[in-house]
Symmetry: C4
């Protein structure tokens, strides 16, 4: 069942480790089959070294396990909420990568300070509001997803494929699991550069024209980057 998606999702999970975004088991990637409405996600707390495609867990869009003997990632309900709200995405990634997490803990949006950022994120990478005690004590993981979605009410999730959750850590997404992992790696790199930049100049910033130019260089009908 969904063998190819399991392999792709596994590969995305392993890429997070290879790229240095994950310590121990602190990360997870998922992918979705939109036709069948099924999500493939990493099992919870399993070592990456021993992870095999058949251990990946299949759930429906309510988070109900459809196939798999392992528990799904404890962040499943956030992934599912994002898939339901952001129809154009095919993969979701969550990590505690160091720099993005430091920004999340600071409660500050990661400002768009240059072209590295703008090539992938068309505007600041937003930080959610803090969850209320009721949200935390209730359906916490789902509510994390809802807080992300709330923050994107006036932001296009396809143009800003990532978020930092206040006091927590980043999520990123993309057209599939590997693309989401790619965006998570970029989010971490951008967060690291932004940290140093604001230390050097708290008022740093660039023009909207520059952000537009770089974003649309890589995205949309008029993209010019890469091979045709």
């Amino acid at each position: 069942m969904l063998e190819k998606l399991k392999e792709e999702t596994l590969e995305a999970n392993l890429d997070l480790v290879r790229r240095g975004l994950v310590l121990y088991t602190w990360g997870n990637a998922s992918g979705i089959d939109r036709e069948q409405g099924l999500v493939v996600i990493k099992p919870s707390g399993v070592d990456y070294d021993s992870l095999r495609p058949e251990q990946m867990v299949v759930t429906d869009l309510e988070g109900k396990v459809v196939e798999g003997t392992h528990r799904p990632s404890s962040d499943l309900m956030t992934h599912v909420a994002l898939y339901k709200a952001f129809e154009g995405i095919g993969g979701v990634v969550h990590t505690h990568s160091e720099n993005a997490t430091a920004w999340a803990q600071s409660g500050r949006d990661i400002p768009a300070l240059g072209t590295t950022h703008a090539d992938y994120f068309h505007g600041p990478i937003p930080c959610t509001r803090e969850l209320t005690d009721d949200e935390i004590n209730g359906e916490y993981v789902l509510n994390t997803g809802l807080a992300i979605i709330e923050r994107f009410q006036e932001i296009d999730p396809l143009a800003v494929p990532g978020v930092i959750v206040a006091g927590h850590a980043p999520f990123a997404w993309g057209k599939n699991a590997m693309d989401a992992a790619h965006n998570a790696v970029v989010l971490e790199a951008v967060a690291k550069m932004a940290f140093m930049t604001v230390m050097l100049n708290e008022k740093a910033g660039v023009s909207q024209a520059l952000l537009d130019r770089h974003y649309f260089r890589k995205h949309g009908a008029n993209a010019t980057y890469g091979q045709k």
Copy 2:
């Protein structure tokens, strides 16, 4: 004698090196056999490359060597003090890992700034008071342990499995030596993120509800993380 514990303790020592927490010989891990009241600890100043299980030193809870031809780690008396005071622990680790040590040198507690921290430490990672000159000139290593214990008078050492010693470096503990090493790795990661967070926002912080939620997600009767 205690062959299994020696191997486990050696492995914990080596894990500290593999995880980048130890430069030269600046670290040590120990484990305890509670039934026999015997502690296994790394020998002092021996290179990790050549360390073998039979070189591990066995002592009693007064720090007296029971077996072994090498001197025990110079930090032995701190380990022993912690084993005597914190009955639930089975392993102790000491390192000079960079970020945790920087916090220790600053004399500041590492604040609980997010869920990465809260998944392992239920509250700030406390910094001890400075030792007095008399304590330093007396039984210094033992007094280091006593200062840690003093700091935990109103903190549960099982809920906060680590400390930073003012002007010195971190200690961590756990249910065995490898678990203590794991907590030492997390302490270092959390210290690194906290450094960047306070640079970005000196007033950063999260709600007690969030700290509780994440801590009890991984600990206690209602833990939901990982496989059953």
Copy 3:
């Protein structure tokens, strides 16, 4: 056609990766054959792992592709502008290396704070002005080159073989592609040290005599460094 130059230019591109200056495909190196007026440059968005000499693109000094089935790097027109304006250079490199990019995003020149800097750069590494909206919306890549050239009106590009473009990232150059890559590596190292230095002391600086001494130790008729 230009086989040797293609191999050298490829090697310079790979060196950027080996030295940790490039994430994904975020960098490019080119070399020029001054006699023929032809530039060899990395193709756009191709993975470094699979890059082969025959994939390198040959263009003339107007940026017109003369040989090659791949699109040239999207930064081609900046490279070409620099070759036309800086007659003594034989190679150009562009990266988004972390520390240099952070400085570029801050909009600040990288000050000459010590001998490491002065051994390679005879004065601050300048930051360009921001581009206007018209420049961004027009021939953006070319205009980036023109902004660099404008910044070097009173600076000798052979004595300061690198620049940071405001809100963007560094460019470096040298007598050939590999030398340009070397200068890009040094620029990144110098940027990292300068970041920490200004955090420690915003007013740090050295005498012109020291900058002169170190620069002319490695450059010009009286150089004394290395083997004759």
Copy 4:
């Protein structure tokens, strides 16, 4: 001639590279045979990869080459000055390691902020004064050595085996070349921790009693660290 010293000195040079203290050829280690009054030092600007014992250069204490077909390191006269002034040392190392160099560029002493520092350096790692223009334009490399010696008028170089030269970079020394390299590695580690510490707390510091305790734990007649 001095084959063993050449091999030891080569090994110390290579250790600097393995420990990440040296980029390109930015470092050098030397050792001295006190009986013969001869110094063995790395040749100038030669790649570490191809460095062989027979390429090491032998000089006398005036810096005159006694054996070797290569030029000695351009920093030779600083090494020689230190050997003449500090009679107890047997090895000298110079690097541009990142954190120590950042402190040198800042012009600030590296304060003794904890036990990691105190285990090796009995007090702050001093920063020299800036050289005058005359000193720079004259026998610059020798004058660098003299400025170091001047700074140690009231400091025991055996108790503080390293220095940072203002606007330049660190030197370290020890009982032989490998011990000097070891102290250079520690100086870099201590500099990194001190950077973060002063960012967290500009007023951080520890008692003289703690500095004494740790220093004399590893040094002198009453040392207790390591195996007897």
